[in-house]
């Protein structure tokens, strides 16, 4: 031992090459060591959820800067690096991502793009939502401006995914989640979109509720155009369902006695309430016009065109405002067709007969009340009567043979009188018309078939010449 101490006093010369060796070791090994430790530290963090993590190694000291999503995640990240072999110290520069109160996420759609703003809870949710937005919205540009924040309500991802699906149904608008409250505003892309969104909101995850839903639907349009030249009635736009569709087409067929109904209607959700009860009377009003257009947009009905005689526009307005369901509005722009040239009695009779072969004046069954569906036909007859103002006209009522003769006689008289009353109400002088009932005495067809009976139940206009 004493020898060792004595010899050790002579060991010093070796420290000079040792210092050189050390300098060389430092020179060559520092960078490789640092990159080795950086690699091992990065690998250690692989399974720990962090955002914006940066690792800087100086010598054997590792500086970790990262945004963590929980205190526990933060601690475990530091601990994972501390146990990496070779690491001497860990400088902890991690921080918790900010907590958002309230936690707001929103998706806003304008003409060209969808913008996601607010907060996302985790990078994985952020990526999932962006991917879902691309998938749901087809070719629309999606801009993700969300930040990562803590404080998302439970099942946030499911709610946001559901709502992104609804953004696809919007033309423009905004859907916002604020904590667990959902607000929606904007305009649906298609008719029925608003209803589809409202239905989808029922599937929101537990805990979420709809604070406000102000999605508007595009106007519900129904149009009818009466073309007197082509003799067509063209129906376009939407009807609520197939039953209403059939009812409207059938009503049009009854009201427009000489026009062919061209049916281009499509069924769609989103009709305003009382749709059928407003459209059917409006079609009746259109049938009384020589030419005209009916446009129903939501609850606003625009009727424009030419009436056949002076008293008609006033009657149309009065009847419609009485028939419309509550909340419906009428905008009538009705002028009166210029009076046609007068004709003599013979031509007048021909015109009456011709119109009455195309259409039949209808009454309520076994009663003398005029069927509203015959208003269009009656207006045409009035127009003809106005063209031969100097003639007297017999309004002849006929029935089929059903029922007893006295009743039929009375019914035919009353029905003829009802027609005369209608003509007088239209402004024609009462003195020109005589109501006569013939009961079933003058059949024009055999009364043994329903078809024959229908032909026998009729009103005839017989021009009697000059007064």
């Amino acid at each position: 031992m004493r020898g060792l101490i004595r010899w050790s006093s002579k060991w010093w010369p070796g420290t000079i090459p040792l210092a050189v060796l050390w300098a060389l070791a430092v020179w060559t090994s520092t960078s490789p060591l640092e990159s080795e430790l950086a690699g091992r530290s990065t690998a250690a963090l692989k399974d720990i959820l962090l955002d914006k993590s940066r690792i800087a190694v100086s010598g054997r000291d590792v500086t970790l800067a990262a945004d963590a999503f929980s205190e526990e995640g933060r601690r475990s990240a530091v601990a994972a690096i501390e146990v990496v072999p070779g690491v001497r110290l860990v400088n902890d520069e991690t921080r918790l991502i900010p907590e958002a109160t309230p936690f707001i996420w929103s998706a806003e759609r304008d003409v060209v793009r969808v913008t996601l703003t607010g907060s996302s809870p985790l990078p994985a949710s952020k990526a999932k939502l962006l991917e879902a937005a691309h998938a749901d919205l087809g070719g629309v540009e999606v801009v993700d401006q969300t930040n990562l924040s803590r404080g998302a309500p439970p099942r946030f991802d499911d709610a946001a995914l559901l709502l992104l699906g609804q953004v696809a149904k919007l033309k423009d608008g905004k859907i916002t989640i604020s904590d667990a409250k959902v607000s929606l505003s904007g305009m649906a892309r298609d008719l029925g979109g608003r209803e589809a969104i409202a239905a989808a909101l029922k599937n929101l995850p537990e805990g979420f509720s709809v604070a406000s839903n102000e999605i508007k639907a595009p106007p519900y349009i129904f149009q009818a155009y009466k073309d007197p030249v082509a003799l067509t009635l063209t129906l376009t736009g939407y009807v609520p369902d197939n039953n209403v569709h059939a009812a409207i087409v059938a009503a049009a067929g009854r009201k427009f006695f000489s026009e062919k109904v061209v049916d281009n209607l499509k069924a769609s959700l989103g009709a305003p309430s009382g749709f059928a009860s407003a459209v059917v009377p409006a079609l009746g009003a259109l049938s009384r016009l020589s030419t005209g257009t009916l446009v129903v947009s939501d609850r606003e009905v625009k009727l424009s065109g030419d009436a056949l005689y002076d008293a008609a526009p006033g009657q149309l307005r009065g009847n419609l405002s009485k028939d419309f369901p509550q909340g419906w509005q009428l905008k009538a722009d009705i002028s009166v067709k210029p009076a046609a040239a007068p004709v003599d009695a013979t031509v007048c009779q021909q015109l009456f007969s011709e119109v009455l072969t195309r259409g039949t004046i209808r009454f309520e069954s076994a009663r003398s009340n005029l069927d509203p569906d015959s208003a269009g036909l009656l207006d045409y007859l009035i127009e003809i009567a106005l063209r031969c103002p100097t003639t007297n006209i017999e309004i002849a009522g006929h029935t089929d043979t059903d029922g007893d003769n006295t009743a039929n006689q009375t019914l035919s008289e009353k029905r003829a009188q009802a027609v005369v009353d209608y003509l007088v109400k239209a402004g024609l002088p009462a003195g020109r018309f005589t109501a006569v009932g013939y009961g079933s005495a003058q059949p024009v067809a055999a009364n043994d078939t329903d078809e024959g009976k229908a032909r026998n139940r009729r009103i005839e206009f017989v021009v009697k010449g000059q007064p």
Binding site: L4, S8, W22, S29, G59, G86
Partner: protein, 98 residues
């Protein structure tokens, strides 16, 4: 430490061999050794550096360089001790003559 040893085994082996050679020579070396005073000062310096390394007070790269230096120095000393002892064993004649 094990990581440093495996990562720098070449340099550490070189320090050990250098120490062994120096220890081998020191036994028959006729020059002057360091004085007791200087030896004490050097020992104190090494003790301070060792304390600094163990306390990890030197940050970053200098801290690493200090660790590496002390490790190499420790192996150098071990090499010296082994070298001197072996040389003393194989030297002909009584060790205590000179």
């Amino acid at each position: 430490m094990i990581f440093l040893a495996t990562f720098h085994w070449g340099w550490l082996l070189a320090a050990l061999l250098l120490g062994f050679a120096m220890g081998w020579i020191a036994v028959v070396h006729r020059g002057h050794g360091v004085s007791k005073q200087l030896a004490r000062s050097l020992a104190a310096l090494v003790a301070v550096l060792l304390a600094a390394a163990l306390a990890r007070v030197v940050p970053g790269r200098p801290g690493y360089w200090l660790d590496l230096g002390l490790l190499m120095f420790a192996l150098y000393l071990i090499g010296c001790a082994v070298g001197s002892w072996l040389r003393d064993r194989v030297r002909p004649g009584p060790a205590s003559v000179n």
